[in-house]
Symmetry: C2
Subunit: 241 residues, 2 copies
DNA sequence: CACGGATTTTGACATATATCAAACCGGTTA
DNA sequence: TAACCGGTTTGATATATGTCAAAATCCGTG
């Protein structure tokens, strides 16, 4: 069944970037996504706000995003919720449950989206059959941990504008990886969601956007963004203190 | 050789606590540590400031702390360094390298300490021989990832005093687990190191200590701490916003 | 096209933490 | 004992972000 797609070639998205992608998105090119979808025989549609899966829910499948985008979030006892990642076309989500067999976060559609259910409902089973895949997942996870160390420093020590710069550069990179424009795109998430993701209030996010605009680094109008000076954004991030 | 110690019973320290222990300390009781040391035939001594291992260094062994304590830290390109964890008697460090075969942080002695080299220089080899151990490590890692999600919310949203409260309660718990007093102990790390760990400046840490003292929650004099009202500290943490 | 609700922007102000500086220990050495 | 040194505490002030509120803008719907 699943012969024609080499899952062992899965690459984790942006492993060299400092943003957190705790739900382990995985890069696939358009062709691979198409292949997966052909295999899956199960493409599902979700409307804005629909849950792809919920925290605590039993692990069913991995999902490749065919169109649209999702956010992942954790809900805390006290009701607060935090966005832990954004997933876009061509990325795979659901890996957060590979070990515990339970999802550790909610996945919610940011817009009308389609996902392909990957043709195995138990990755663990598959991974036992494919030692190389298991080793790969192992690696992915350990890389995640390592990466998180960086993130924590960032969250602890970066200022609002630096965080937003990292965020925008990350998005840019991911759009580029899908053959989309890396300098001009539509945000699919609100200021509130960006803020939750970056550990900031929505007003702070908005102000940071405005500041970038004033500095000539970007053009921003509501959710449409144009990056004018990638180098300038990079410089912001590099600038310690 | 390593028959008498059941490594598959390793439990990750404080998996229910919100503090980050990225270098994966593992709980062992005094007896188990002794057993490990008997097996290892290799007990090493380190003075304050000595490196147990360095980031990037090839994975050699796991180490069980027989006496003393260590901190783990990451060094960043720009020279900044951040403490990522503290390890005390009875905990195992070195697991950060199990997958990549390279250490991801420095481990430095906080005081004169002794560690036992665990009797296998390649955990991966062992883990291949022991599927149950491999699965367990798998689980530990995935739990780490889950836990980190919580941490990131905390770092993003907790205030200085809450962070310090979490820190103190975590220490208390770990002392208790070793049969030491959970309410009265000596800190082995400086305000600066605590600050780095919690994402705060040393002065802020110091002030938080003083505030706790003024509120009657603790007695603190330099590095000796007495927790007077555990419930009060817990309340602080629970108190959102 | 106009309306209404949601989102975004902007402003004024409050608050928490960082920064800078000085004083204060506690232990070590001369 | 005195001088010293690292670490700690405390104070005054600066700065970044949060908070609250209002205005402006966007977007879907009738």
């Amino acid at each position: 069944m699943q012969r024609s797609v080499s899952l062992t070639r899965l690459k984790i998205a942006c492993s060299d970037c400092n943003l957190r992608e705790l739900c382990l998105p995985v890069d696939l090119n358009a062709q691979e996504i198409q292949q997966l979808c052909d295999l899956s025989h199960a493409k599902h549609a979700y409307s804005r706000g629909d849950y792809l899966y919920r925290s605590g829910g039993k692990f069913g499948s991995l999902y490749a995003i065919y169109s649209g985008s999702f956010k992942t979030q954790v809900l805390h006892e006290d009701g607060r919720e935090q966005v832990t990642g954004f997933q876009m076309v061509g990325e795979i989500i659901g890996l957060d449950a590979i070990c515990t067999d339970r999802h550790t976060c909610d996945a919610v559609a940011l817009e009308n989206s389609e996902v392909c259910e990957l043709p195995f409902n138990k990755l663990e089973v598959l991974s036992r059959k494919l030692p190389s895949l298991q080793r790969h997942l192992h690696k992915i996870m350990s890389r995640e941990i390592v990466r998180d160390q960086g993130i924590m420093l960032l969250l602890g020590s970066m200022r609002a504008e630096e965080r937003l710069a990292v965020f925008l550069l990350n998005l840019s990179q991911r759009f580029a990886a899908r053959g989309l424009s890396p300098t001009q795109f539509q945000l699919r998430m609100s200021r509130q969601e960006i803020g939750s993701y970056l550990g900031l209030k929505l007003e702070t996010v908005s102000r940071a956007f405005s500041n970038f605009q004033d500095s000539g680094l970007i053009n921003v109008k509501a959710r449409s963004v144009e990056l004018l000076e990638l180098s300038g954004l990079h410089a912001l991030v590099g600038k310690q203190q």
